[in-house]
Structures are given as structure tokens and as C-alpha cells.
Symmetry: C2
Subunit: 212 residues, 2 copies
């Protein structure tokens, strides 16, 4: 596949997982091929937007045929790295950390959770989804032995700066960030994907107000 | 403000909370006005995309002046209904429900949590963020008395159909949906905003692979 991905804007990138999800459903339902027009009516993007987006990655469609669902699904999966198995740890095992450890399908998105950490001693030894919670004081040793590359930050904003500094010094440079701390701005060279659940709530609100 | 919002595509809508967040930060930092070009460099959208997006709602900018930050922030807030105070309940008080009840700033997005429900009797009477968890069997009475309009679904997919049916029969037609159940497809006339955390994880993965 031609790799034109160097100058792709983040707004295109952010749409890819949605394509992947929709194509996965189509595949599961036995759909073999689909036109950009059909895809657009299902996804709420315009057909021209879809053609433009997929062209960024070299273009997978054939005029008059449309897209091969399984091929497009697999190629977008590869672009998104769903088989990478990145070694990840969760920092902060309060309700949110526990919810992530027990419900999230990390493997499906290319991540492999190898450790759970908290600074609360009363949580030590408790298991979530078959994995024991470790104390933050063992983080350094753990990272040296296991070399995780990603941390899921389920910690309060106030705790984030010190924890991120420690993680970066231990070679963890990628963050799935539920805290409201701005990792990327404060630690250049790191990659941070911030989860803004309020954005989703506001979108719900808009839809409620503008229901037809 | 002229209301042109009738035919706005969901992809524009989904960008509004992000504008709102960025403008809120600018406002907090004392920025009075900003050009679409500056806004674009901060947000990673193109300047023409930003002008196009904001034009959908009647256009707030003046050529050669840019946007008044506070005015734009307030107007987008109104479009998103951040002051609506929609009455909402959380269904499912496992780790995820507890994380939502204790950490989410619902009020900031126009929602007011008035009840927490679970079918697990061992949770009854437990308080989260100052509010007691109620049993699902009291849901009908509660809805008649308090008329919530929104449910936050922190339940497994398998439980969702029956619960959504009950909620709809009780006048709850709007859903912030963490289950993977497709509410909108199965209950026409409802509004559902689905949270796909895996989309965010895949975006992280892409960024890790394409780090420059």
C-alpha cells in the first residue's frame, strides 16, 4: 500500500477508527463491498469526504466497484496498529482505573495491559480482571524489567505532573490521558491522546435540543 | 444569532465541543480575540475548516478582526446547551457508573444527575458523590415523580435492551451510552450518544506509530 500518511491531518486520523468500526460491522454482517455513497449514508459523512479521507492513505476504492469491505477493514486496521500489542500499564486504580481494567477491550485496539499501579496501600494485592494491583513504589523496577511504552492515566490532574515526569524518566512516553493535565504541552516528545468525555456529553445535549 | 443549524452535519457538531474547550482556555488566559488562522494552528483544523464550521451557525467573525473569544465561547455554549440542566440518571453503578458519578463534571455540559440506579441489592444505600444508589425496582416511581429525560448507560450490552425499553416507557428518551448496544437503531425516536473509547485508543496507537 502506498504510504502517503506523512501529512495527514489529525481530523482525518480521528475518523479512521470510526471507519474501522463500521467496516467491522459490515464484515460481520457478510457485506463484501460497499460504495462510498452507501458508506456515507451509514456513517453520516459525505461521500466526497470519505473518498478524500481514504485517498490520504493511497486510496482503496475502484471507480464503479466501490470498496472491498474486508480489504479496507484490514488495511485501516494495519494503519491504526491494531495488532501491535503495545505494552501498557494503568496508573490510578480508583473507580475509573478499575472500570478501564475490567471493561476495556485493549487488545482489540493494539494494547496489552501488563501492570496496574496505585499509591493507595489498601489496594495492594487486590486483583482486577485477574491482575493484581501494585504499589507505585515498584514502578521503577517494573519498568526496567518489562519496558512498557504506554501509560493509561486514571489519576487526578493535580497528581499528573509528578507521575508523568517519573514515567518519562522510565521510558514511558505515550499516554492515554483521562486526567485534564496537558501532558503534550509540558513534556515535549511525548504522545498523548486525551479523553474528553464532556465533549461527548455536549454532543448529546446538542442532539437533544435539535431533535427533528 | 441567525439559526442555520437545521442541516448541520454531525461531523461539524462533533467539533463544536472542541471549539468550546479551546475558547474556554483562551478566555481563562485573558485572550480577547483570535483569528481563524491562530485558532487553526492551536486546534489542528485548517483555517478554512474553522470558518466553514462557524459559518454553519451564522458566522461570528469579522474580516480583519477575527473572533471575539468570549462572545464566540458563549454563543457556542448556548448552541451546545451548557446551561440546560437536563435531568439525568445513571443506570449501572459498577466501577464505570461510580467513576462517572464521582469524576464527571456533568453540570458543565448541561446535565444534572438526580439519581443513581443498580439492580445489585448489595449496593443499596451506598453513597457516591453524596448521592445514594437506588434499586432498579424503584425506577418507575422515581421517574414519575422526577421526570428525568436522560439516562447514562453504564451497563453491559446484554442488559441494555430490557433496560432501555423500560426507560423509554417511562419517558426517558435520551441516552449517553457506554454499552455497545445500538439504542438508536432499536428504539426509533430516541437520541443516543455512544462513547467509543476504543476509537480514542486507536488514535493513540496511530500517533505512536507515526511520531515524527
Amino acid at each position: 500500500m502506498p504510504n502517503k500518511a506523512d501529512n495527514i491531518s489529525m481530523s482525518v486520523i480521528k475518523r479512521l477508527p470510526r471507519y474501522y468500526r463500521f467496516l467491522g460491522n459490515l464484515k460481520k454482517n457478510g457485506v463484501v463491498r460497499i460504495s462510498s455513497k452507501e458508506l456515507s449514508s451509514k456513517m453520516g459523512f459525505t461521500a466526497s469526504q470519505i473518498r478524500q479521507d481514504l485517498n490520504c492513505f493511497g486510496g482503496f476504492g475502484q471507480q464503479g466497484y466501490g470498496y472491498n469491505v474486508e480489504q479496507l477493514y484490514n488495511e485501516i486496521g494495519t494503519i491504526l496498529g491494531v495488532n501491535n500489542g503495545n505494552k501498557a500499564i494503568i496508573i490510578g486504580m480508583g473507580n475509573l482505573g478499575k472500570a478501564m481494567a475490567s471493561h476495556m477491550k485493549f487488545a482489540k485496539s493494539g494494547f496489552n495491559i501488563i501492570g496496574l499501579f496505585d499509591s493507595d496501600k489498601s489496594l495492594m494485592g487486590e486483583a482486577v480482571n485477574g491482575m493484581e494491583i501494585s504499589h507505585m513504589s515498584s514502578l521503577g523496577e517494573f519498568c526496567k524489567e518489562n519496558s512498557p511504552t504506554v501509560a493509561v492515566l486514571c489519576i487526578p490532574e493535580a497528581a499528573a505532573e509528578d507521575i508523568v515526569r517519573e514515567l518519562v524518566s522510565l521510558g514511558v512516553n505515550n499516554f492515554w490521558n483521562f486526567s485534564h493535565y496537558d501532558v503534550a504541552a509540558n513534556f515535549p516528545g511525548t504522545v498523548s491522546e486525551n479523553v474528553h468525555l464532556n465533549d461527548s456529553l455536549m454532543t448529546l445535549n446538542y442532539q437533544m435540543m435539535n431533535k427533528s
